[in-house]
């Protein structure tokens, strides 16, 4: 008898934290499911012409060239202010973005450019050992989080490679936690004809990207949620 009651008591006391834990996890899961469901749904028609703060992730080389092509046709007054992020090892991309922003300022006659340029640590350099890359990945994540807290973008434009993944994941977490609702757009590189890149595949499968664009019809047939938009270059 005594044995039984003590058993019940210990059951109850050990159950309480577990119940709380399960409830919290359930709430988080429901919220994540809601965010995933809400993602991919177009935003309501805008009545005001309020611009949206925009984060542009520049990939390097061909990725940056494709992104610049896209920026050239976007109406800049709708996507303001603009924050450019490139890998710290990539010194060409931000230079190209600066040239673009300067030419915009020249053509529109606006003195002040509403653009900021930032660099982000890469989690792993080519050839780096896996042991040290655990540490550098943590540093890179902390840095990405710090930049995202500062920017809190409403729109994220990216087209790979890996640099954009931590930023997109953080943007998604911001949606879940309720810090900031953002729309994430991913354009798969023109070099991908038959298979998605790893970053593309992650953002597609995890449903992090609100809209996913591919430049070849073969890919759209394979990934039906993607939008086929033809070649950008």
């Amino acid at each position: 008898m005594e044995k039984n009651s003590s058993c019940c008591f210990s059951n109850l006391s050990s159950n309480l934290p577990i119940t709380c834990f399960v409830t919290v996890i359930a709430i988080i899961l429901v919220r994540i499911l809601y965010v995933i469901w809400r993602t991919c749904k177009p935003l309501r028609k805008r009545t005001s012409q309020q611009p949206l703060s925009t984060l542009v992730v520049l990939g390097s080389g061909g990725h940056t060239a494709e992104m610049i092509d896209l920026l050239l046709v976007l109406q800049k007054n709708k996507f303001t202010p603009r924050f450019y992020i490139a890998a710290a090892t990539d010194n060409m991309s931000l230079q190209k973005a600066r040239v673009l922003e300067n030419s915009l300022a020249d053509s529109s006659g606006v003195k002040e450019i509403s653009a900021e340029f930032m660099q982000i640590y890469r989690s792993r350099e080519v050839g780096q050992s896996y042991v040290t890359s655990v540490w550098t990945t943590l540093v890179a994540l902390a840095h990405a989080l710090w930049l995202m807290i500062k920017i809190r973008p409403q729109v994220v434009l990216c087209n790979g490679p890996g640099t954009c993944i931590p930023l997109c994941v953080i943007a998604f977490i911001f949606k879940v936690v309720g810090i900031r609702w953002s729309s994430i757009f991913y354009v798969e590189s023109i070099a991908r004809v038959k298979r998605l890149s790893l970053s593309g595949l992650l953002l597609y499968k995890l449903r992090i990207a609100d809209q996913f664009f591919v430049q070849w019809p073969q890919l759209q047939r394979k990934y039906p949620r993607a939008h086929y938009v033809g070649c950008l270059m």
């Binding site: 177009p42 709708k78 729309s183 664009f213 270059m233």
Partner: protein, 178 residues
Amino acid sequence: MGEAEDGVKPKRVVFVTVGTTCFDALVKVVDSQKVKDELLRRGYTHLLIQMGRGSYLPEKSIGDDGSLAVDYFTFSSSIAEHLRSASLVISHAGSGSIFETLRLGKPLIVVVNEDLMDNHQSELAEELAERKHLYCARPQTLHQTIASMDLESLLPYSPGDATPVAKLINRFLGFPED
């Protein structure tokens, strides 16, 4: 450019570019006698190689004895000028080099680097070759491609357009259509 004077052959440059990569297999094969003979046979007079970070140095030649003139450099800020003055471009499979060449309307042979681990680059070259915008080769088949290519049959590439993406983004965000 390339005026024939006193029976001298007009200057026809083949420009080889590896971009920022290291692609010794390509530099080596364009420097081989087999490929150089074939280029000469097809009427080219100069071979200019941008060799990037590679370590293989081709043999320079001024080509005064009727052979192909060969010159090389590692990097240059004026790749566009070299592309413009070329009669034929042989390039690595990077999308930047491919589209820059196609936009200039230059005949192009893309050589796929088979040593790359993640060889997705061949996808783009093969797709564009299927659409007859360029020729796609491997280092060991380059001389055959040069021998059998018919540059007249290549179709000009009409540059792409990013406005469909911009339209979809605007619509998604609820911006009124212009």
